[in-house]
Amino acid sequence: MTARRTSGGPADGRPATGPLVAVSGLSVAFPSGPGGAPVRAVDGLSFELAPGGALGIVGESGSGKSTAAYALLGLHRDTGAEVTGAVTVAGHDVQAVDAAGLRRLRGGVAAMVFQDPLSSLDPYQAVGDQIAEVYRVHHRGASRREARARAAEVLDRVGIPDAARRARSRPHEFSGGMRQRALIAMALACRPELLVADEPTTALDVTVQDQILGLLRELRAETGMGLILVTHDLGVAAGSVDDLLVMKDGRAVEHGPVGEVLHAPREDYTRDLLAAVPRVNVRRATRKDAPHRAGGDDSVLLEATALRREFGRGKRAVTAVDDVSLTVRAGETVGVVGESGSGKTTLGRMLVRLLEPTGGRLGYRGRDIGGMKERELRAFRSELQMVFQDPVSSLNPRRSIGESIADPLRAAGKLDDAAIVARVRELLERVGLAPDSYHRYPHEFSGGQRQRVGIARALAPEPKLIVCDEPVSALDVTTQAQVVALLGELQRDLGLALVFIAHDLAVVRQVSDRLVVMRGGRIVEEGPADTVYERPAHPYTKGLLAAVPRLEAAEAPA
C-alpha cells in the first residue's frame, strides 16, 4: 500500500481548487445469496484525481477495478450492494446526494463509457436521438432542435464522417469502432468534468483500439476533463494516463506516476504482472533445440492448398476463408494472427476437420482429408486435436474432468479401464494439475486450470498436431504466461506441431516459428516470425504492428 497521492493535472492553468475525485476508504460488498457472507469486491480503496488529471486503474479479473469505477457515479445505489467510505466527485458527495442530485451528477459532471459499444446503445433509436436525450436531461431548457444540433456537433467531434446524417442511423448500422465513438460523443454531450472509461477498447480490434485511445488523448487535451481509465491491459493504460493504480483483490497494490510504476515498480505483485506481459518487440526466447529438431523429423504434416470456406448459399453466401495455402511441418509452431472477421478461427476448425472445406485441398501426410466422410475421418481424429478459447464452454459441466480427458481413449477402445485411468493421471500431472483431480468437476477449477485440462484432453490421443484457437485470450495476463509456457514445453518434449491462432500479436510472437497474417479470409503475409515482426512487408501488417500498445509508451521516470 503506497501513500495516497493526488494525480497531477495538465498545465492548462486551470485553478486547482481541490481534487476532482476524492475516494477514501471505499468498500463495496455484494450479497452472495441466502446465508452466505457478502463478497467484498472493493476493500478500503483510497485515491484522488486532480482536475484534468488522468488515472489508469489496472488489475486482473476480480480485482474490483470496475466495481470501484461504478461507485464514482453511484451506480451501486439500489442494487443491494453495500457501499461504505467516502466518494466525492467535483465537490459532490456521491454517497449522500439525493436521487435528483445523483441524476444531475451522472452525465453532467461525470460521464461513463462502457465496454461493449453495441449492447450499450439502445438498438431501437437513432444514435443522434439517444445523445440528444441525454443532453436534454441535463439542459432542461434546450429545445429538440438544439439537442439534435449538439448531438451532431459531438458526433462530428469524435470523428463520425457526415455526422448530421449519420446521427439518424441506428447502432447496428455502425461499425464497432464508430459505436464506441458514438458512446464517447454521448459522454461529451454535456461537457462533463470527468470521463470514466470502463475497458473502452477491450471489445475492439487492435487498430481500432489505437484510434479510440488517440481520440481520448485528444479530447482530454482539448477539453481539460479528467479521465479514469479502467483496463486489464497495461499497454493500453501506459500511453493514455498520467498515474497508475494497480489493484488486486479489491485493494490498491501500488499507486504512482505511470512511468515509475511501469519502469521501477516497488511491489512484487506489480513486478510479476509486468514480467508476464507479452511484448511484441521482444524476440522469442531461443529454443535450445531449434525448430523441427525434435526427433529429427521435419516432414510436412498438414498441407492446405487453396483452401476455401463459404457460409450460406446464393446471394447471402459469405466467404470466410478464401484461397488459403499453408504447410505445417512436424514439430514447428505456425502462428496465425488477424483481427475479428479475418477467418482465422474458420481456418483452424477446417485444419482439424471440425468444418468441411468448400473448396481446395487439405492433405494430411499425403492423404486428402478435406472431403472425407465422418466415418473415414475417424482414423485420423486422434492425430489432429484442438485447444479451444473459452475455458468455460470447452468442458462439459456435467462430466468430471478425468472423464473428459479419458473420452478419446475410451472411444479408441484400445486400453482397459485401469490403463485409461493411469494415463489420465499421468496427463493431469503433465499439465501441472494434481493427479487426484480426476473426479472433480469443471466448476471447481479456475480459468487457467480448465485450460490446462483442455490441453490434457488434446494430448490424450497422442496427436501429431494441435490447433490452439485463442487458447489464452480469455485468461488474465499472469495465467496467460503460464499456459503459453506450458504449451512451449510440451511442444519441445513431445515434438508436437502447433498452429497457434490469436488476435494478440505479442502472445503469438512468444511461441511462433513462422507467422501467417490473415485479413478478410486471405493470407496477406507469411514468413519466419522474427522477419515478419521486425521487417513487415505488407502495409496491413505494418499498421497492425504499429497499433499494438506498448509499455514503453510511458516515459521512464526522470
Binding site: 478419446p408 466448476h443 490421443p461
Partner: protein, 334 residues
C-alpha cells in the same frame, strides 16, 4: 392451440445446464411454494392410487345409483345439506343419480393423472427423438423433420383431437385413446425445444472436442448432449403436464373424452352446468380438484424451472447478451 387451455411458458433457448442434481434439489427445496405444490401433488397421487381402498373404507363404489338419496320431485337434487353430505357419503352424492361423489372424485383423479402422465411421456419420447434427429441428421433429414414439426405445431390441437374422436371406433378404450391422441399430436413444441437446444449445444466447444475423439454420433448424443438436454426437457415437461390435465378435462367436458360411466372431472363439470343453481357443491368439488391440481403442477413447474436455470450458471448461456429470437411459433404447443 394455445387458446383457452394453458399457458405454455416459452422455453428459454440456451437454458444453462445446472450444476449437479443435488444442487438442483437443494434449490428446489428452498422454494416454499414448490414444496407445498409437491406436497399437494403427493396427496393427489396417493388419493388416485388408493381410490379403491378409500372406496372400501367409505363403503361405496363409483357406479352404484342411490335413488333414495335424491329428491325426484325437485328433479333429482340430493336430500340434505351441501349436496347430501353424510357419514356414508363424505362429500355427498351426485344429483340425479345419487352416486357417491367422493369415490367418483378419487377415481377421476386416476383418469386425470394417468392420461396426463402417459401423454407427457409420449410427447417426451417423440419430441426428444425428432428434435435430436433434426439437429444431428443430414440436410434432407433435417428439412423433412423440421417441416413435419412445423405442421405439428400449426395443428390446432384441441380441434384435431376432437375431430379424431369422430373416426376412431367407439369401443376403443378412451383413456388410452386420449394418451395417444394428445401424445401424438402435441410433441411439436418439445421437438422444437430439443432441436434448438441441441443446435446451441453443438456450438459449444466441449461438443466440438467430443467430435474430435472420433466417436460415433450416437455416442456423442448419449454422452454429451442428452445429459445437458435433461434440464430443459424436464422443465418443458413440467409445463406440458398441467396442459395435458386440462386437455383431458376439456375433452371430457365437451363429451369427446372419457366416456361415462368412467368418472372424470371434466365430465362431471359438464353435467354440473345444468345443476349449478340447485346443487352448487356438485360444481365446486370437481372444479376445485381440477384447479388445485393444475395450480400445483404449474407452481411446481415454475419451481423446477427456477431451480434448473439458476443465474449462477448463466455464464454458460450461448448467445451471451443477445436476446434470443423467438423460439417457437407458440401456435400449437398447448
Amino acid at each position: 392451440m394455445t387458446t383457452e387451455l394453458l399457458i405454455t411458458a416459452e422455453p428459454e433457448a440456451g437454458t444453462a445446464p445446472a450444476s449437479g442434481t443435488r444442487q438442483v434439489l437443494r434449490r428446489l427445496r428452498a422454494r416454499k411454494s414448490a414444496l407445498a405444490a409437491a406436497a399437494v401433488l403427493g396427496l393427489l397421487v396417493l388419493l388416485a392410487l388408493a381410490a379403491p381402498l378409500l372406496a372400501a373404507i367409505e363403503g361405496q363404489d363409483p357406479n352404484t345409483y342411490h335413488d333414495a338419496l335424491v329428491d325426484s320431485a325437485r328433479g333429482g337434487v340430493p336430500f340434505g345439506d351441501f349436496g347430501g353430505v353424510s357419514a356414508e357419503h363424505w362429500l355427498g352424492v351426485e344429483p340425479g343419480t345419487g352416486r357417491d361423489l367422493f369415490v367418483r372424485l378419487a377415481y377421476g383423479a386416476r383418469v386425470s393423472l394417468l392420461v396426463a402422465l402417459g401423454a407427457t411421456a409420449v410427447q417426451i419420447l417423440i419430441g426428444v427423438g425428432v428434435g435430436l434427429a433434426a439437429a444431428l441428421g443430414n440436410r434432407l433429414v433435417e428439412s423433412l423433420l423440421t417441416h413435419v414439426t412445423d405442421v405439428m405445431v400449426a395443428m390446432p390441437l384441441l380441434v384435431f383431437a376432437i375431430a379424431l374422436m369422430a373416426v376412431v371406433p367407439a369401443d376403443f378404450p378412451r383413456p388410452v385413446l386420449l394418451v395417444i391422441a394428445i401424445g401424438l399430436l402435441a410433441w411439436g413444441g418439445m421437438a422444437r425445444l430439443v432441436r434448438a437446444q441441441t443446435l446451441s449445444l453443438m456450438k459449444l466447444d466441449f461438443v466440438s472436442a467430443a467430435r474430435l475423439t472420433g466417436g460415433s454420433t450416437w455416442r456423442l448424443a448419449r454422452r454429451e448432449l442428452l445429459p445437458s438436454l435433461a434440464a430443459p426437457v424436464i422443465t418443458y415437461a413440467a409445463v406440458l403436464l398441467p396442459t395435458n390435465i386440462v386437455l383431458e378435462a376439456s375433452m371430457s367436458f365437451l363429451g369427446v373424452g372419457v366416456k361415462p360411466p368412467t368418472p372424470s372431472w371434466g365430465h362431471m363439470l359438464s353435467t354440473a352446468t345444468t345443476w349449478f343453481r340447485a346443487d352448487p357443491m356438485y360444481v365446486l368439488l370437481p372444479a376445485l380438484m381440477l384447479f388445485v391440481t393444475t395450480l400445483a403442477f404449474t407452481v411446481l413447474g415454475d419451481g423446477v424451472r427456477a431451480a434448473l436455470d439458476p443465474r449462477e450458471a448463466s455464464r454458460l448461456r450461448v448467445g451471451r447478451n443477445r436476446r434470443k429470437a423467438r423460439t417457437s411459433g407458440a401456435g400449437g404447443t398447448a
